[in-house]
C-alpha cells in the first residue's frame, strides 16, 4: 500500500479485501451446495428419493408444456416419452445454474429483503429458462439427433452465462442510488 491508500496494483485501500470476502464466501457456499448435490448418496436413501421425486416433478412440468405441441407426449417418472424420449437426469435440472446464482446472491453484501427477492425471482427465472431449454431440446431432438447432441452440450454453459447476466442485473438493482426525499 502507498501512503495515499492504494495497493500496489492500484486498487483503493479496503476495496480488494471487500471483494475478496465476496469471492471467498461465494466459493464456500457454492462448493458446499455442489458437494451436497453431487455426493454419491445411497441409491435407496432419502436424498436419492427426494432427488428422484424432484426430477419427476420437473419432467411432469416439461411434459405438460410440451403436450401443447405433441399430444402423444407424457412423463413416466423422470422420462419424457413421446415421438422422442428424453430422460431428465441429475444434471438436467439446472442445479448448477441455481447454485451459481444463489451463492452469488447470498455472498453479495445486500439487505436480506433484497437477497430474498433476488433469490425467489432468480430461482423462478432460471427454472423457467431451463424448462424452456428442455422443451427446445425435445423439439430439436424430433428433427435431428446431431442437433440434439449439440444443443444438449452447448446449452448448460450458455445458461451459466445467462445466470451471470441475471446476477449482475440484480447486483446493480441492489446498489442503485436511492432517491433523495
Amino acid at each position: 500500500m502507498d501512503p495515499e491508500g492504494h495497493s500496489v496494483t492500484g486498487a483503493p485501500r479496503g476495496r480488494g479485501a471487500h471483494d475478496l470476502r465476496f469471492l471467498v464466501t461465494f466459493v464456500l457456499i457454492s462448493g458446499s451446495l455442489c458437494f451436497l448435490y453431487c455426493a454419491p448418496w445411497q441409491p435407496t436413501g432419502h436424498v436419492a428419493g427426494w432427488l428422484h421425486a424432484y426430477l419427476s416433478a420437473y419432467a411432469t412440468v416439461v411434459a405438460s408444456v410440451l403436450s401443447l405441441l405433441d399430444p402423444t407426449l407424457h412423463a413416466v417418472g423422470t422420462t419424457l416419452s413421446g415421438r422422442f424420449s428424453i430422460q431428465v437426469a441429475r444434471d438436467c435440472d439446472a442445479a448448477e445454474a441455481l447454485i451459481l446464482y444463489g451463492a452469488s446472491v447470498l455472498a453479495f453484501p445486500a439487505p436480506w429483503p433484497k437477497r430474498t427477492a433476488g433469490l425467489l425471482a432468480g430461482a423462478a427465472g432460471i427454472t423457467a429458462l431451463n424448462v424452456t431449454r428442455l422443451c427446445v431440446l425435445y423439439v430439436v431432438g424430433l428433427h435431428s439427433r446431431e442437433g440434439f447432441d449439440f444443443a444438449h452440450e452447448a446449452s448448460p454453459p450458455l445458461l451459466i452465462i445467462a445466470v451471470l447476466g441475471a446476477f449482475v442485473a440484480w447486483a446493480r438493482w441492489v446498489a442503485r442510488p436511492r432517491p433523495v426525499t
Binding site: 495497493s7 496494483t9 492500484g10 486498487a11 483503493p12 479496503g14 476495496r15 480488494g16 471487500h18 471483494d19 475478496l20 465476496f22 469471492l23 461465494f26 466459493v27 457454492s30 462448493g31 455442489c34 458437494f35 448435490y37 453431487c38 455426493a39 454419491p40 441429475r90 444434471d91 448448477e96 447454485i99 451459481l100 451463492a103 452469488s104 453479495f108 453484501p109 445486500a110 439487505p111 436480506w112 446431431e146 447432441d149 449439440f150 452440450e153 452447448a154 448448460p156 454453459p157 450458455l158 451459466i160 452465462i161 445467462a162 451471470l164 447476466g165 446476477f167 449482475v168 447486483a171 446493480r172 441492489v174 446498489a175
Partner: protein
C-alpha cells in the same frame, strides 16, 4: 456497481458467441483434442508413477473421438493390459475450458500484460481442478480393479487400496467437480481477474444490512 467487467452485456454476448463457436462439433477437433489430452495426461502420469513396470496411461478410445480410455499396462514378461474405463472429454474437460477461455477473451482488459497473467494463472487453476477430478476418479476405479482383479496386469501389484470412506470422498470430489465444473470455472475466472487486476473491478457496496 457490479462484480463484472463493463460493459457487461457486450462481454456476455461475446462470451456466448465464442462458446457457441467452440462447442460446434468441428470435424477433427475431437480427435485432435483427445490426442493432446492423452499426451499431456501421459506426461503428467509418468512423473507421478513409481511402480514400474505397472503404469496407467491415457489412450484415445476406439470409435469415440472425444473419449479417452484409461489403460493399466504391465510391461514385464507375461504382463498384459487392462482397459479400465472411458472419460468423455468433451463435457468433462473441453466445455469447461472453453467457458474459461470465452470469458477471458470477452473480458479482455486494456492492460494486456496483467490480463495475460490473470489468464495464465486462471487456466492453471482450471486445469489443476479438472486434473484433481480425473485423478480422484482414476484412483477410485483403479482401487476397484485391484479389489477384484480381472487380468494379468491387475493381479501383480495392489497399487491402490481404499477404504469405504476414502472411496466415498474421492467419488464425491469427482462428481462435485465434474457436475459443477462451470460454477468453479466462473469462480476461478473471477478470482484470477480480482487477484491480478483488481483495479479493473467495480467496487461492491461497502455497507451491508
Amino acid at each position: 456497481v457490479s462484480f463484472a467487467p463493463k460493459p457487461t452485456a457486450r462481454v456476455l454476448l461475446v462470451t456466448a458467441f465464442i462458446l457457441t463457436v467452440a462447442l460446434v462439433p468441428w470435424p477433427g477437433l475431437g480427435a485432435a483434442f483427445t490426442r493432446a489430452f492423452c499426451a499431456v495426461g501421459n506426461a503428467a502420469a509418468s512423473l507421478c508413477q513409481s511402480h514400474p513396470p505397472l503404469r496407467f496411461e491415457f489412450e484415445p478410445a476406439a470409435g469415440h473421438s472425444w473419449s479417452t480410455t484409461v489403460v493399466v499396462r504391465d510391461s514385464s514378461p507375461g504382463g498384459g493390459s487392462v482397459d479400465v474405463f472411458n472419460l468423455y472429454l468433451r463435457v468433462l474437460v473441453y466445455a469447461p475450458l472453453s467457458l474459461f477461455v470465452a470469458l477471458s477473451v470477452a473480458a479482455a482488459e486494456a492492460d494486456r500484460r496483467a490480463h495475460a497473467r490473470a489468464f495464465a494463472i486462471g487456466l492453471a487453476m482450471v486445469l489443476g481442478l479438472l486434473g484433481l477430478a480425473i485423478v480422484s476418479e482414476v484412483t477410485v476405479v483403479l482401487s476397484h480393479v485391484w479389489a477384484a482383479p480381472t487380468g494379468a496386469a491387475s493381479q501383480r501389484v495392489h497399487l491402490v487400496q481404499l477404504g469405504p470412506a476414502a472411496s466415498w470422498v474421492l467419488s464425491a470430489v469427482y462428481r462435485t467437480i465434474s457436475s459443477c465444473s462451470y460454477v468453479f470455472v466462473v469462480a476461478i475466472w473471477a478470482f484470477s481477474r480480482w487477484w491480478l487486476a483488481p483495479a479493473a473491478w467495480p467496487s461492491a457496496p461497502q455497507a451491508s444490512a
